[in-house]
């Protein structure tokens, strides 16, 4: 079970603080980004009325999530937020799927990736809230229904970040560990591929969708 | 009750028949203890089913809670009865424990086999 404990780390010391970087997760993130850029290039390279296969997939994804954002946030706001939402989903989907390839690990099994994406959604939602309601109106929401609710509302907002990022992390990490342990316990050729199919592909897709959907919905809750 | 009687007629002889066939096969391959075990187990399985049918009057026409309470007491009583063959087969080597346990499920097994047969036969239509 050495794989669980061993992490390739880069440790940078500045003064008395040391910063630990998980190199595997960073490398995997870059690989995912590279793959997505390549996909984007291929999908938009020769755009035709009769689309090629890449373009079909790309159009499908963009259209689906554009429509989804529009139905939740309204036409005006969808214009500014939908590109980010589509990109978020595609990044998460590929991140969760990449673990199915041998020697690759999902960057989402490192808590830092979901946490930073969750924080991004948090900042974005609150920025959207301030822009939509003005600073006064935004602050006012924290004193509802009564003034004393301020600490609870603050914690509730922070808990959203925790729940959204730990949900993704817990599911992906749980799946990865189950696959690892099962393949160690029974040296079977049949079961692990099925587990990959279930955890990486099926659960990964659902969790990527849930993460994206929740980000949209959190923005929607802030703006009105 | 007519319904209970018809059920008894339907399942119990089949269960006993299967048990006896199995016992004969076991005697034929030279394991008398196995044969005795399965017959003993099946006998008690059938008796349990008969008792269950006989106690049906006690259980119906009650509220859910009293029904469950009465069922609990009756289950414990019947299980005390079902424990007999197990104890016997643990104490006496004449009865093999594994086949006794197998025999205890004979009525249920016959019911399930009947259900599976019906399901398979109904599929092609």
């Amino acid at each position: 079970m050495n794989e669980i404990g061993g992490i390739y780390q880069l440790i940078v010391r500045i003064g008395e603080y040391s910063f630990h970087f998980n190199l595997t997760a960073i490398a995997m993130t870059w690989i995912v980004i590279a793959l997505l850029l390549f996909f984007g290039y291929m999908a938009s390279r020769r755009r035709h009325v009769l689309p090629n296969s890449m373009q079909v997939v790309g159009e499908l994804l963009v259209a689906q999530f554009y429509g989804l954002t529009e139905s939740t946030l309204g036409k005006e706001r969808a214009k500014s937020y939908a590109p980010l939402i589509v990109a978020l989903f595609m990044f998460l989907l590929l991140s969760n799927w990449i673990g199915a390839i041998p020697h690759m690990t999902e960057p989402t099994t490192d808590l830092n990736t979901p946490l930073s994406l969750g924080l991004m959604g948090f900042v974005l939602a609150h920025y959207a809230g301030i822009r939509a309601k003005g600073f006064k109106g935004y602050i006012k929401t924290y004193f509802e229904p009564i003034v004393f609710m301020l600490p609870m509302n603050l914690i509730g907002e922070l808990a959203k970040v925790i729940s959204i990022s730990f949900r993704l992390f817990g599911n992906m990490m749980g799946g990865a560990i189950i696959i690892l342990v099962v393949s160690h316990l029974i040296y079977s050729l049949v079961l692990p591929p099925f587990l990959y199919l279930f955890f990486s592909l099926f659960i990964g897709t659902i969790q990527a969708f849930v993460f994206t959907m929740l980000t949209v919905v959190y923005i929607a809750v802030q703006v009105d | 009750m007519e319904a209970v009687k018809s059920l008894r007629k339907k399942y119990c002889p089949t269960a006993m028949f299967i048990a006896i066939i199995a016992a004969l096969v076991m005697i034929f391959i030279g394991h008398k203890d196995l044969a005795r075990g399965i017959v003993l187990g099946t006998l008690f399985s059938i008796l349990n089913f008969v008792l269950m049918g006989a106690s049906i009057q006690l259980r119906v026409q009650r509220t859910r809670r009293t029904g469950a309470m009465i069922a609990f007491v009756l289950v414990l009583l019947r299980f005390g009865f079902l424990a007999l063959p197990l104890v016997v087969s643990i104490y006496y080597d004449k009865y093999h424990i594994v086949t006794t346990i197998a025999g205890l499920f004979m009525v249920q097994a016959v019911m399930l086999a009947d259900a599976v047969k019906k399901l398979v036969l109904s599929r092609p239509a």
Binding site: S71, T72, M152, A159, V217, A220, V221 | -
Partner: protein, 82 residues
């Protein structure tokens, strides 16, 4: 095994935190599920109001989640303050 005052307090606070969060999560979990079920029902009846219903559901769930967040706060207090 030295079971002394401070150690005992720590042990009790850890187990208390675990039980507080564990049992505190049951109620909100079921409650939020019921809110979600009603929201799905409402969308089934009236799909055109989906956006509004989603927001209403989230607000309802956030309110019923507050007891879960209280448990979280209590658990964290037990862990880090006691």
């Amino acid at each position: 095994m030295a079971i002394e005052g401070v150690d005992l307090i720590h042990a009790a606070s850890y187990i208390g935190a675990g039980i507080a969060m564990g049992l505190g999560a049951i109620g909100p979990g079921v409650g939020e599920g019921m809110v979600g079920a009603k929201a799905c029902e409402a969308i089934g009846r009236n799909p055109s109001e989906a956006a509004l219903l989603t927001r209403t559901m989230l607000v309802g769930q956030a309110v019923s989640e507050s007891t879960g967040i209280y448990s979280l706060v209590v658990a964290l207090l037990l862990l880090f303050v006691v």
